[in-house]
Symmetry: C2
Subunit: 115 residues, 2 copies
DNA sequence: CAAAATACCTCGTCTGTCAAGGTATTTTCT
DNA sequence: AGAAAATACCTTGACAGACGAGGTATTTTG
């Protein structure tokens, strides 16, 4: 269990949605984007990524379509839906809340006080 | 999937260890402590808690012993080991790092810039 | 022409979470 | 005294997300 894995579990969907906020993109590029933004600290595994795409699409949070590349390998592009934006927003708020909870519980030493 | 569940997944062990940093404690009390420290926002489920205890003990991060209560129900106390403290410390550092990564990826909109 | 890179995808395994079920004792309420 | 709630422990099985391993096809590079 590296840095990532269980700890990032559950954030994959939100991370993907975040990459789609400003422009449509495709799997390979999204993955690279994630790697770049974290300076290589985190990289989504392909299996994880594609299962997440399926989930998000089934839930109606993203739409997909084939790009019409005249050269290069075919690409499946993904675009975020309105529902996806709402879902992203919720998740982001949850994250801010949970961050606080974990901080409290982990740093948590009561530093004297109570009882 | 409530606020907690997948998102907190992976932090359970660290949260438990944190509760044991300053004094030994037992399952029920640890659970209450978690609930109290988060004002009820988070509560570990019993199943999750006890499986985590088993894992932590097998890994040598905590030790357990039966309390000699003369009244009240029997209690199994847990104490953190030196290895547990080290593990806690690592996890805490990982958390700080991951927090930054997720923040970057979720807030992530590059806010113009790159490329 | 072979190898590497781009680009897609699925399947099966693993692991942590948790609902549901269970035991035993003590306290509180009526 | 008896019932209900609280304290306190525990296990089992199902579920879901992550991911290693495997696979296809095209294009670029050497």
């Amino acid at each position: 269990m590296s840095l990532t894995s269980d700890i990032i579990r559950g954030h994959t969907e939100t991370i993907i949605l975040a990459q789609l906020l400003h422009h449509d993109s495709y799997g390979y590029e999204i993955n690279k984007s994630i790697r770049d933004r974290t300076n290589g600290d985190y990289e989504a595994k392909e299996g994880t990524l594609y299962t997440a795409f399926r989930r998000l699409e089934q839930a109606g949070y993203i739409r997909s379509y084939w790009g019409d590349e005249s050269s290069g390998a075919r690409r499946r592009y993904y675009g975020i839906t309105d529902e996806g934006r709402a879902y992203y927003q919720e998740n982001k708020e949850d994250w801010l809340k949970i961050k606080g909870i974990i901080d409290r519980l982990i740093e948590a030493d009561t530093t004297e006080g109570g009882n």
